[in-house]
């Protein structure tokens, strides 16, 4: 992309880093998912998210290798939202983050596919085709679990804790009006956030789960400040490359 558009670059880098972190975090569940079928489905979704990160990195910096961008930046160079970095090692948290994140992705990718940046719109269209399955999966499973008393007992606390944090996905460290003016986004981040909040509330309203959206303290992920979970996540990302810098897969 033209390096001239700093705002677009920062925004897309944030999105790509969200995808990278969520993909890596999902992949932690390989072989330890709650049951075999869910294990396979969740791993497949993890792989898709990493693929989306890859498409965005390749667009942002075609000169650099994807590994170099994804794995070897200084920590302050990452723009991920803290909810994407969160190590969800309890299944309710992992599932709830998956629901919240994929509902957000639906809104975020559509804002890009509806924009006037042709190559970005093409990436978004490709991602949306896969996201349809992610959303079906996350909503179908969580709705079935929420329909049971046991499921509500386990999932609602995770929704109440993580949903407010999810608002950070719609933050940028640049002027959001510029993203709309340049044609990159077809709707503002504020509009996207409101439409996401509506989707989350629609999902939860029948299950007596109130979210206190005010609870969220703005997290500075987009400004280059990493959460305390990032270090172990990053160590996992580069584990193989540290053993063998020339590893191919």
């Amino acid at each position: 992309m033209s390096s001239g558009d700093h705002a677009a670059r920062e925004y897309l880098l944030g999105f790509a880093d969200d995808e990278l972190c969520v993909g890596q975090n999902h992949s932690w569940w390989i072989a330890v998912g709650p049951f075999l079928e869910e294990d396979l489905a969740f791993s497949s979704i993890a792989q898709d998210e990493l693929g989306h990160a890859r498409m965005l990195y390749e667009f942002i910096d075609p000169e650099k290798s994807v590994d170099e961008i994804a794995y070897w930046r200084d920590q302050r160079g990452y723009r991920s939202a803290h909810i994407a970095e969160l190590r969800c090692h309890q299944w309710p948290d992992a599932l709830v983050r998956h629901v919240l994140y994929d509902l957000a992705e639906e809104v975020r990718w559509h804002a890009l596919s509806g924009g006037s940046w042709e190559r970005v719109a093409a990436i978004a269209t490709r991602a949306i085709a896969e996201e349809r399955f992610h959303l079906q999966h996350s909503l179908s499973l969580s709705e079935r679990l929420l329909a049971t008393a046991e499921g509500r007992k386990r999932l609602i606390p995770s929704f109440q804790r993580l949903a407010p944090m999810g608002q950070e996905l719609f933050r940028a460290n640049v002027d959001e009006l510029r993203l709309v003016d340049s044609g990159l986004l077809s709707s503002s981040l504020t509009d996207q956030k409101n439409s996401w909040i509506k989707k989350v509330e629609t999902l939860l309203e029948t299950f007596n789960c109130e979210i206190n959206w005010e609870e969220f303290q703005d997290a500075p992920g987009r400004e280059g400040i990493r959460s305390s979970d990032f270090e172990s996540l990053h160590a996992e990302m580069v584990e193989v490359l540290n053993l063998d810098p020339n590893a191919q897969w």
Partner: protein, 93 residues
Amino acid sequence: MKTYEVFLKKAGKEPFGHVGSLDAPDDHMALLFARDSYGRRSEGEQIWVVGRDHILAGNQSDLALADRSHKHNDGRRVSELRTSQRLKKELGE
């Protein structure tokens, strides 16, 4: 959870083939899991998912009768007979 059997049909004239089974809480989730478990790499172009309890299983002993070799006709004897008749005819002329 219920057990389901999964069948995939590859492109072209290939028939549906059984690829495996899975457990799912209901039919809707069974279809989703079937795609993720058996079709996520585009292994087929059509998928069938059948609840195992909808499958009629025949009596196994009805299939395992002692000698059914006479049912295996590979056409060899007919072919030998025809060849010998043709040779006879050719030699006779």
